[in-house]
């Protein structure tokens, strides 16, 4: 039995967060009436000409900087020719030999150790339109319908080096990449709306050898989980072929999520000849160092740096740092709350515990949380000030999520404020001691564990609002002095 090295490279397409398309002023908003966000330019009507969106360039540079790429001061646009009904000009404006960014790296941590995944290049291109098929699949439909609203949305394509060594590492890389693109507000990375897409190349080679094996390209990967599952399937498939003296054919394979398998789409006889040609309508993009520097200075704190700062500045455990910097919105949420509350670990516990649990259960993102950081801060401060017990506070938070009311309001309405007033507590304790003579005697005779029972009874009687610490003190004082 030979051991195999798995070699994976990814190609990721991310839609850039611009308001208008890459070469015209049509809106990029998702979900418009078909063919209502189109104009002569993005429909490829003859005679219309492309005018480059400067923000698309800035965002591509931002992405490059976040991926630690070299930003090329000279890059150009090329036409990539192929006929397809969703491609209005029958060529896609892309960047061939001189892309805007090259040679970067993304750091991930895999099974506790750091790994560097190389980035080959980042280039700009335009999105195609959308085709809707009448039947179940493209091939079985007698006709298809074309909507060009998406045509011309700016994209970057990120191509990794073949540095990824396992399907799980591929998923971790994608999660990190998504974090970086979201932090820099380059892309909203919504896989469900197609604003982030991924194709994977995978091959196997005998462990320790240098020559790459024949690779398969996998398409139709609609989630990070799908990327990992499809690659896991592909590792098994290729291993089985190779271990039975078979040969891998270079081909494009389609991931079928329901069946959990990849299927051959077409065999690549020759590399497709796209007849690349510099686009004569688009002069080269020349960037000066000052411009790149300005964009560099506008970059927000990136996740690795932020995580380190959370650990150093707030004294958080590394795990908390990684989770809380998993998205810029989550980190911002956390920090806003800490500003009010002060105790970072207390806030971290609330955010990573109750807040994320509720959002996950409701399939929501932190950005959409009905309880904002200021709302949470108020609640946590009430806990800090012993105005409400920790346990009741969790119920209050649940109610805040559902009703949208403030913590104060819920506590007041439901009488949940913690009772610490000695006089009030004495009254409740009197009643409990009177009702439970046996445990009282137990305590008096030195069986101190019965104190807990009595405190519990007071808590029950107060519906949880009694300050348990105070109750404990009073009972002990009363029975043991």
């Amino acid at each position: 039995m030979i051991d195999w090295d798995v070699v994976i490279g990814l190609e990721i397409h991310a839609e850039l967060l611009t308001d208008s398309k890459i070469f015209c002023g049509c809106s990029t908003v998702f979900g418009g009436v078909p063919n209502s966000q189109v104009c002569p330019v993005c429909m490829g009507l003859p005679g219309a000409l492309p005018v480059l969106n400067s923000r698309a360039v800035d965002l591509a540079i931002k992405a490059g900087l976040a991926l630690k790429c070299t930003i090329n001061e000279f890059s150009k646009f090329d036409r990539k020719h192929y006929f397809y009904p969703d491609l209005p000009k029958a060529y896609q404006v892309s960047q061939d030999d001189l892309p805007i960014c090259g040679n970067g790296v993304v750091e991930i941590s895999f099974e506790g150790s750091p790994r560097s995944i190389g980035i080959e290049r980042v280039h700009m291109e335009e999105e195609a339109g959308k085709s809707i098929h009448a039947g179940e699949s493209i091939m079985s439909s007698a006709y298809s319908l074309l909507d060009y609203n998406r045509a011309g949305i700016p994209l970057i394509e990120i191509v990794t080096k073949p540095d990824i060594r396992s399907p799980e590492e591929a998923r971790l890389f994608l999660e990190k990449l998504k974090t970086l693109l979201e932090y820099t507000e380059v892309s909203d990375c919504k896989m469900e709306e197609g604003s982030l897409r991924c194709d994977a190349n995978i091959s196997l080679k005998p462990k320790g050898t240098d020559a790459f094996g024949v690779k398969a390209e996998i398409k139709n990967l609609n989630s990070f989980r799908a990327v990992q599952r499809a690659l896991e399937f592909e590792v098994r498939r290729q291993k089985e072929i190779l271990e039975n003296q078979g040969t891998i054919v270079p081909e494009t394979r389609h991931w079928d999520e329901a069946k959990g398998m990849t299927f051959s789409m077409r065999t690549k006889v020759d590399a497709a000849d796209y007849r690349y040609m510099p686009d004569p309508n688009l002069y080269p993009v020349r960037l000066d160092a000052a411009k790149i520097e300005t964009i560099k200075n506008s970059l927000p704190e990136l996740p690795d740096a932020k995580c380190k700062r959370f650990i150093d500045e707030y004294g958080l455990p590394a795990y908390d740092g990684e989770v809380l910097t998993g998205s810029r919105a989550l980190a911002d949420y956390f920090e806003k709350c800490v500003q009010e509350v002060g105790d970072a670990k207390l806030v971290s516990n609330w955010v990573m515990g109750e807040i994320l649990r509720w959002l996950n259960a409701h399939n929501m993102q932190i950005e959409d949380s009905p309880v904002g950081p200021a709302d949470l801060a108020k609640l946590v401060k009430l806990v800090q000030g012993a105005e409400v017990s920790n346990i009741i506070a969790k119920d209050v938070l649940e109610e805040m999520f559902v009703s949208g009311k403030s913590a104060e309001q819920i506590i007041d309405e439901q009488g949940l404020r913690q009772v610490s007033d000695a006089g009030e507590l004495e009254k409740m304790i009197d009643k409990v001691l009177e009702d439970h003579p046996d445990p009282v005697n137990d305590v008096k005779s030195g069986k101190l564990q019965a104190v807990g029972f009595l405190v519990g009874q007071v808590m029950k009687a107060s519906k949880g609002t009694a300050n348990p610490k105070k109750v404990n003190e009073i009972i002990r004082a009363r029975l043991l002095d």
Partner: protein, 490 residues
């Protein structure tokens, strides 16, 4: 001379002074079209109804003293330049029913200046050709001799102006398509500097060489049209950044001590004695006006036709790919899948368009990419450099516009390479993007017009027009008109 055969600057005065109305002028033009166009075949689509409405508006404005340059002037537009609401076919069956939703910037500027668009003129399909015989609708005939071609690809515009069926026209020029038909039809045609006139709305053949240019009776008219359509345009990313000058005003200056270059290698290529004679005749006139005429060398000019043709074909194969029958134009419905639909629909194109698409497809791919596309791109650099150096020494260069006068219909249709040689003197200006003006410089014994080109430095239209104007004043070429025998069929 017919009213409609008069230059624009003359008609402008009549309109502004109220001696004629726009309605009268437009009526005369349509009458003239009725008289001659059955024979000449200059137009694909007429815009009669809109033109009369525009004439009424123009007359209103003229009455109120509006004095914009082209107010009430009937202009024809080549049918590969988009006109909003007016069918734009490129003389192709593929675009037979295409009605653009937008005006080309040049057309919008014409309208803004008060011009009246009277119709869309015939061309070689998509502008690919030198005789207008590649139109998928009809051939256009030369008003000077109906058995001859008007040149191409802007043959319809040239013939319309020459025949008095338009007062001026827009053409497009990718390798000589404004200048060569202007020469064949005895009018003035200008290919401006690349980027001076917006290409927005010009249906592309080869975008790095395509230009829109004026076609007129004389140099002053060309200057007037140019200053109307020139200028930066946010919708054309290759548009130049400088504001156009007042070209008409610049025509008054003299050309004393201006240096005129005669490119030796290209002029040696001239075989036709009458062409040569007319060219040197013009050089003599310029000298007599005080210019200095000298020889210059363009050592790589012999590669220009091959370089131009191959690069243009590559760009054509790319530009025309969008005509796939999905979003606009014709479609062949007898197809069960998209690949067949694309092929059959695009199969409606004519032979020359197909030939160039196939050549371009070949030259961009596989084994030919290096030997054809990439080497041609490098030759283009050398040709550009040659011209830049020559224009460093000289203010303008003189070249014939075409190797001969207009040739008979059908003469070269079966020999594409011979047809491409028609572009030998014109294509250098497209490769380098420099301005080039063709104007009449003589007539053959048979009475056919001959043209000469004045090439200038980038964005120095002023010198080019000035030299042309000075020559025109020094002889009487601009006054000649063809004698069309009206009403006889051929």
């Amino acid at each position: 001379m017919q009213l409609t055969e008069k230059p624009i600057h003359y008609l402008r005065e009549l309109l502004h002074s109220g001696e004629i109305t726009a309605k009268q002028l437009v009526t005369s033009v349509f009458e003239r079209i009725d008289e001659v166009d059955a024979q000449v075949g200059a137009y694909i689509t007429l815009n009669k109804e809109e033109a009369f409405k525009a004439a009424e508006r123009a007359d209103e404005m003229l009455k109120q003293g509006d004095a914009r340059d082209l107010l009430g002037i009937p202009i024809a537009v080549k049918d590969n330049i988009s006109t909003k609401g007016l069918r734009t076919t490129c003389a192709s069956k593929v675009l037979e029913n295409y009605v653009p939703a937008f005006d080309a910037t040049a057309v919008a500027k014409l309208k803004e200046a008060g011009a009246i668009i009277i119709g869309k003129t015939n061309l070689d399909e998509f502008g690919l050709g030198s005789s207008t015989e590649n139109s998928m609708y009809k051939a256009t005939r030369n008003p000077w001799d109906l058995s001859r071609v008007p040149g191409g690809s802007s043959g319809g515009s040239a013939a319309a102006v020459a025949a008095g069926a338009a007062c001026g026209a827009l053409g497009s020029d990718t390798g000589g398509s404004v200048r060569q038909p202007a020469a064949f039809c005895g009018i003035v045609g200008l290919k401006p500097t690349y980027g001076l006139v917006s290409r927005y709305g010009l249906i592309p053949a080869a975008p790095s060489m395509d230009h829109i240019g004026p076609m007129t009776h004389d140099v002053r008219d060309a200057a007037i049209l140019l200053q109307t359509i020139a200028g930066p345009d946010g919708q054309d990313p290759t548009s130049g950044r400088m504001q156009p000058e007042n070209y008409e005003a610049a025509l008054t200056e003299d050309i004393k001590s201006l240096v005129v270059g005669m490119p030796a290698e290209l002029i040696e290529e001239v075989e036709d004695a009458e062409v040569k004679e007319a060219l040197f005749g013009m050089a003599n006139v310029l000298e007599s006006l005080g210019a200095t005429v000298r020889k210059v060398s363009l050592p790589h000019s012999k590669f220009a036709v091959a370089c131009f043709y191959l690069l243009a074909a590559c760009e054509v194969s790319s530009s025309l790919a969008s005509l796939d029958g999905v979003r606009l134009g014709s479609r062949v419905f007898e197809a069960e899948d998209t690949v067949t639909m694309f092929s059959k629909t695009r199969g409606l194109m004519g032979k020359e368009a197909k030939r160039r698409i196939l050549v371009g497809t070949a030259a961009l791919s596989g084994q030919y990419r290096k030997t054809h596309y990439e080497r041609a791109q490098k030759l283009r650099t050398l040709i550009k450099t040659d011209l830049a150096e020559a224009l460093d020494e000289c203010c303008v260069l003189l070249l014939p516009t075409a190797p001969s006068a207009a040739f008979p219909l059908g003469h070269k249709v079966d020999d594409p390479v011979a047809m491409y040689q028609s572009d030998v003197f014109t294509s250098v200006a497209n490769l380098a993007g420099i301005p080039a003006l063709s104007l009449p410089c003589g007539y053959t014994k048979e009475g056919l017009p001959l043209g000469v080109q004045i090439l200038g430095r980038p964005f120095d239209e002023v010198s080019v027009l000035k030299v042309g104007h000075a020559f025109e004043q020094g002889c009487s070429m601009a006054a000649r008109r063809p004698k069309l025998e009206v009403g006889t069929s051929d």
